[in-house]
Amino acid sequence: MTYESMLAETVAFRGHKGDLGEAYYARPLGGGPWPGVVLIHHMPGWDEWIKEATRKLAHHGLATISPHLYFRDGPGSPDDVGARVRAAGGVADEQVIGDVAGCMEFLRAQPYANGKVGVIGFCSGGRHTYLAACSLPGIDAAVDCWGGNVIVDDPKQLNPKRPVAPIDLTEKMRSPLLGLFGNDDENPNRDQVNRTEAVLKKLGKNYEFHRYDGAGHAFFNASRPAYRAEQALDGWTKVFAFFHKHLATPAAARAA
């Protein structure tokens, strides 16, 4: 019999400018060393599905931390805090990147860490993942799940909180990128996904994109009508394969 176990809990982390924030953290118990993953939540906030996804990654051998990107607007329940953030126009890209960097430090500081760190994000978190992959050193694998507004067709959408279209930073992308998209999604739509892939290809980046028929936005989310079981199962399989390929413990470390 195989004994499976994990620990899932709220932890504190140092984010952008050293601010002390809260995060949900799930990791396998025993064994290891384990790779780490930063999971970036979607626009509605730090909700139950995000925490389920965090535990799912841990179940597959990835110590995963999901920072509450809206912690500065607390205290309050995640939905109330999310409403305040929405009314204020969202969070600044720079702040999110700082929080992701802080979570990466948290992961690498754990005694059971193998030193490899990936980033995954959903919806607006997919866009943040693309940004992080272009902005932060030390990301070993990035997974963008249907991140919208990577391409910004209307310059009016740029503002002090989101000053740059992520696509314009692609040249600086350092990590391998996995992208998952639903062909019925409106943001990003098929054309935008194709244009993003064209830029990655032109710049010689290490990427793989998968597009799903019969799926739209957020098709992993079992609490929404958009959930598509078959596509979601395949997508998760691709996420785990990608992370295990790029975040595996180096052979030299295993032998030590």
Binding site: D47, A83, R224
Partner: protein, 98 residues
């Protein structure tokens, strides 16, 4: 999709939340992913008192069809109510004049 587009309506009134009644001065209205409703997109309204910081809210998440029907029912209630209360005001004025 995820957006940060919010329509703000200034208003005068009160709303009842978990801590009882509160004065409200603003409704933040948006159409995006809901937090609780089992929908892909919902019309959300957060009633808040912005003058007092807007930290407490009374929130609803409605399907697009429900929201449109609610708009019609609000307008219908206002129209019929104003007619009835207009009659009452007329009778009161008439009684006072006799």
């Amino acid at each position: 999709m995820c957006s940060y587009i919010v329509e703000k309506a200034k208003l005068l009134g009160s709303a009842k939340g978990p801590n009882g009644w509160m004065r409200i001065d603003t409704a933040n209205v948006y159409y995006d992913h809901p937090f609780h409703a089992p929908l892909d997109h919902a019309l959300g309204i957060d009633f808040i008192n912005e003058a007092e910081g807007g930290r407490e809210r009374v929130a609803v998440e409605l399907s697009a069809q429900s929201a449109r029907e609610l708009v019609e029912r609000i307008l219908a209630a206002l129209a019929s109510g104003e007619v009835e209360h207009g009659k009452a005001a007329h009778h009161a004025a008439a009684a006072a004049a006799e």
